[in-house]
C-alpha cells in the first residue's frame, strides 16, 4: 500500500450534485471501495444501484465504517461538510470544492488543529494510487500508470500534464496528489514529502509548485534535512505580474518570496533537481532513472 490508504480504507462521497455524481462514478469504476454516499434528502436511496446514500455523515460512518471522505459540496456549505466529517470521526478528508471563503477555511483549520484528522485540499484534484486502483478525487485514471514516481502538485490540470508525460515515457506513478490552489489548505508539500519519503513504493518525487505563499520554501527546508529520495521540482508562474491573482487564490505574488525565481533558488539549494518547465519533468525523471 502506498500513501494515505490502507487495506481497510473505505470511502464515503459527500455531495452528489452534477460533478459529485460524475466523479464518484469515475472513482467507483476505477476500483475505489466507495461504501456510502451522503446527500441530505436522499437517505435510503442508492447511488448507482449499489452504494447506500445517507442523510448524514454520522449515519454513513456508523453503518458502513467509512473512514475516508470525499467532498464535492458547493463552497457555501463546505465548512459545514468538512466539520460534519471531522465530527463524525472520518480520519482522511479530501475536499475538492473550489471557492471556499478564506475565513471558512481558517475556521476549519483551527478547528481540526490537534485533532486526529488529515484534510487534503480544498480546491484540489484529490489523489490517486495506481497500484491499488484507488482514487479519491478527479485525477483522470486514464492517464496514470503504476510505478516509482510520487507526484505532488498545487494544481490540477498541470498535474495531469506531468502525469501524461511520465506515462508516455513509460514511467509509472506510486501516487499522485494535488494539495490544492487555495492559500489556506490542509495537507502541505511537507506532509506529502514525508509520506513519499516513508513509502517504499516511491523512489523519486515530483513536486510542482507555483507562485504565492511560502509552501515551496517550507518544502525546500524539509527536503534539505529529511528527504533522501531525489526530488524533481518545478515552479510555474514565472511570468505572472505582481499583485494579480492567477486563478488560484493562493497564486499571487505579494512579495519577493512569492516569486517563482525565489522559490526555484531555495529549492535548488535544498538539493532538489529543477525542471525549468513542466514540459521537461518527464525527461528529467527519465534521465535520473537511467
Amino acid at each position: 500500500m502506498t500513501i494515505l490508504i490502507h487495506s481497510e480504507t473505505k470511502m464515503v462521497v459527500q455531495g452528489l450534485g452534477r460533478d459529485g455524481s460524475f466523479q464518484a462514478s469515475k472513482c467507483k469504476s476505477y476500483g475505489t471501495p466507495i461504501v456510502s454516499a451522503v446527500h441530505p434528502g436522499r437517505g435510503g436511496l442508492y447511488f448507482e444501484d449499489s452504494v447506500p446514500i445517507f442523510d448524514s455523515v454520522e449515519e454513513s460512518v456508523d453503518t458502513t465504517g467509512a473512514n475516508l471522505g470525499l467532498i464535492f459540496v458547493p463552497a457555501p456549505f463546505a465548512l459545514d461538510a468538512i466539520i460534519e466529517q471531522v465530527d463524525s470521526g472520518i480520519e482522511n478528508i479530501v475536499c475538492i470544492t473550489e471557492g471556499i471563503p478564506v475565513q471558512d477555511m481558517t475556521k476549519v483549520m483551527s478547528y481540526i488543529e490537534g485533532k486526529k484528522v488529515r484534510l487534503i485540499g480544498p480546491n484540489c484534484p484529490g489523489f490517486i494510487c495506481p497500484k491499488e486502483n484507488f482514487k479519491a478525487g478527479i485525477i483522470p485514471s486514464e492517464i496514470v500508470s503504476s510505478g516509482p514516481v510520487g507526484v505532488v502538485s498545487r494544481s490540477g490540470t498541470l498535474t495531469y500534464e506531468a502525469i501524461v508525460q511520465l506515462t508516455n515515457l513509460g514511467i509509472g506513478q506510486s501516487a499522485c496528489i494535488g494539495i490544492g490552489g487555495d492559500p489556506i489548505h490542509g495537507t502541505s508539500f511537507v506532509d506529502t514529502l514525508r509520506m513519499f519519503e516513508e513509502d517504499n513504493d516511491t523512489k523519486i518525487i515530483v513536486m510542482i509548485g507555483e507562485i504565492g505563499g511560502l509552501r515551496e520554501q517550507h518544502a525546500a527546508e524539509y527536503i534539505k534535512s529529511n528527504v533522501s529520495k531525489p526530488v524533481v521540482a518545478c515552479i510555474v508562474g514565472q511570468t505572472a505580474p505582481s499583485g494579480r491573482r492567477m486563478g488560484h487564490a493562493g497564486a499571487i505574488v505579494t512579495g519577493k518570496s512569492a516569486l517563482a525565481q525565489e522559490k526555484i533558488k531555495v529549492l535548488k539549494s535544498s538539493g532538489a533537481i529543477i525542471a525549468e518547465s513542466p514540459t521537461e519533468i518527464g525527461y528529467v525523471i527519465k534521465e535520473i532513472l537511467k
Binding site: 490540477g156 490540470t157 508562474g237 492567477m246 488560484h248
Partner: protein, 384 residues
Amino acid sequence: MQIHEFQAKNIFKEYGIPVPEGEIANNPQEAISVMEKLNSKVVVKAQVHSGGRGKVGGVKLAENSDDVFRFSSEMIGRKLVTNQTAGNGLPVNKVLIEKVTEIETELYLAVTMDYESGSPVVIISTEGGMEIETIAEKNPEKILKIFGDPLLELLPYKIRKLFEKLNIEPSLYKQFSSIILKVYKIFVEKDCSLIEINPLVISNEKFIALDAKISIEEDALFRQTKIQDLFDSTQIDPLELEALKYDLSYVKLYDGDVGCMVNGAGLAMATMDITVKAGTKPANFLDVGGSADQNKIKKAFEIITEDSDVKVILVNLFGGILRCDIAAQGIIEALKDKKEYPSIIGVFRGTNSEEAKRILTDSKIKLIFAEDLIDAAKKIKEIE
C-alpha cells in the same frame, strides 16, 4: 473586490470608526455645495480603485470654492494613472470632499489575512502615509503585527501589547483599542481580504481614519449581498468585466501579444511561461475552469479575440470533465462571424481530444495543431 474610499468610509461610520466630515460630489457644482456645507477648507479626493492618488494629482487641498470647482473639474471625467493602475488608468466619476484635518501623528493600520498562520493579522506602523511596501523594505522593524484567532474575537491583551510599542499618549489607548477592534470586526463580518487605513492620524487627541481602503474576498461575495451593490464596473478593464460575468478567471496583461486560453490555473500559468520561453509575451492569463461548457468557451475565446493586443492565440486544453469536442464547438461559434482573426495554435488532450481535432479540421477555421506545450512553443516562434 475593491470598493471606493467613500464607500469604505461609510462602512467605517456604520461601525463607529471616526472619519473626517465630508460628502461625495458627482460634479463640480455639488463639490462647491459640499464645501459650503462643511464651511471649511477641504480636501478633494478622486474616487478610483487605486492608491497612490496623491502623487498624480488625485488628492488636492482646496482653500476656497474656486479651488474646489477647479480641482473637481480637473478630476471628474478624466482617467487617473497611478503607480498602481494598469493600462490607461481608471476613470474618476466622483470626488470625495472632506474637511481638512490637522495632523499630529500619522500611523499606518491594516488588517489582512496571514496565510502562513491562517489568521487575520493587524499590521501597524508609525510610518503612516508611506506605502507599506516601502516601509517593509526600508524600515521593516517599524512594522508591528498582532495575530487574531479565527475562532476567537481579537483579544485586548494583544492590542495592549501593540499600543505599548507605539509611544502614543497612554490616554489615547481606549480610542486606539476601540478602532482596532472595530476594523477587525469589519474585516471578519464583511469577509475582507484587506482593510487599510493609511494614514490613521491623531488630530487634537482624536484618532481619525483619513483614508480607507477595503477589499472584499471574491469567494465570499455570495454572502456579502450589501457589498455586492457597491461594485463599480467602471473601475475594471472591460474585458475583465466581461470575463467576470461569465465566471472566467481572466487577467489582462498589458505588455504581451499571445492570447492564452487554458483550463486550470496551474496549466494556464505554465502556458504563459512557455510563451515567454518562446521569446514572446502572454497577453493574458485565462483559466476557463474545470467544467466549462460550450458557451463559456465561446465567451472566453471572444474575450481573447476582442483584445486588440493579441497577435497569436494559444489554446491549451486538457479534457477531464471538460470535453475537448464541446470546447472545439465553442471556438467555432466564437469565430463564426469573424472574417479576420489572429493565428491560432491549439493543444487538445484528454477527453474527446481526437473528436475535437476532427471537428476543427472540418470547420473552416485556420488553426495549427500542436502535440503538446513544447511543440506549441516551437510553432509560436515560427509564426512570430
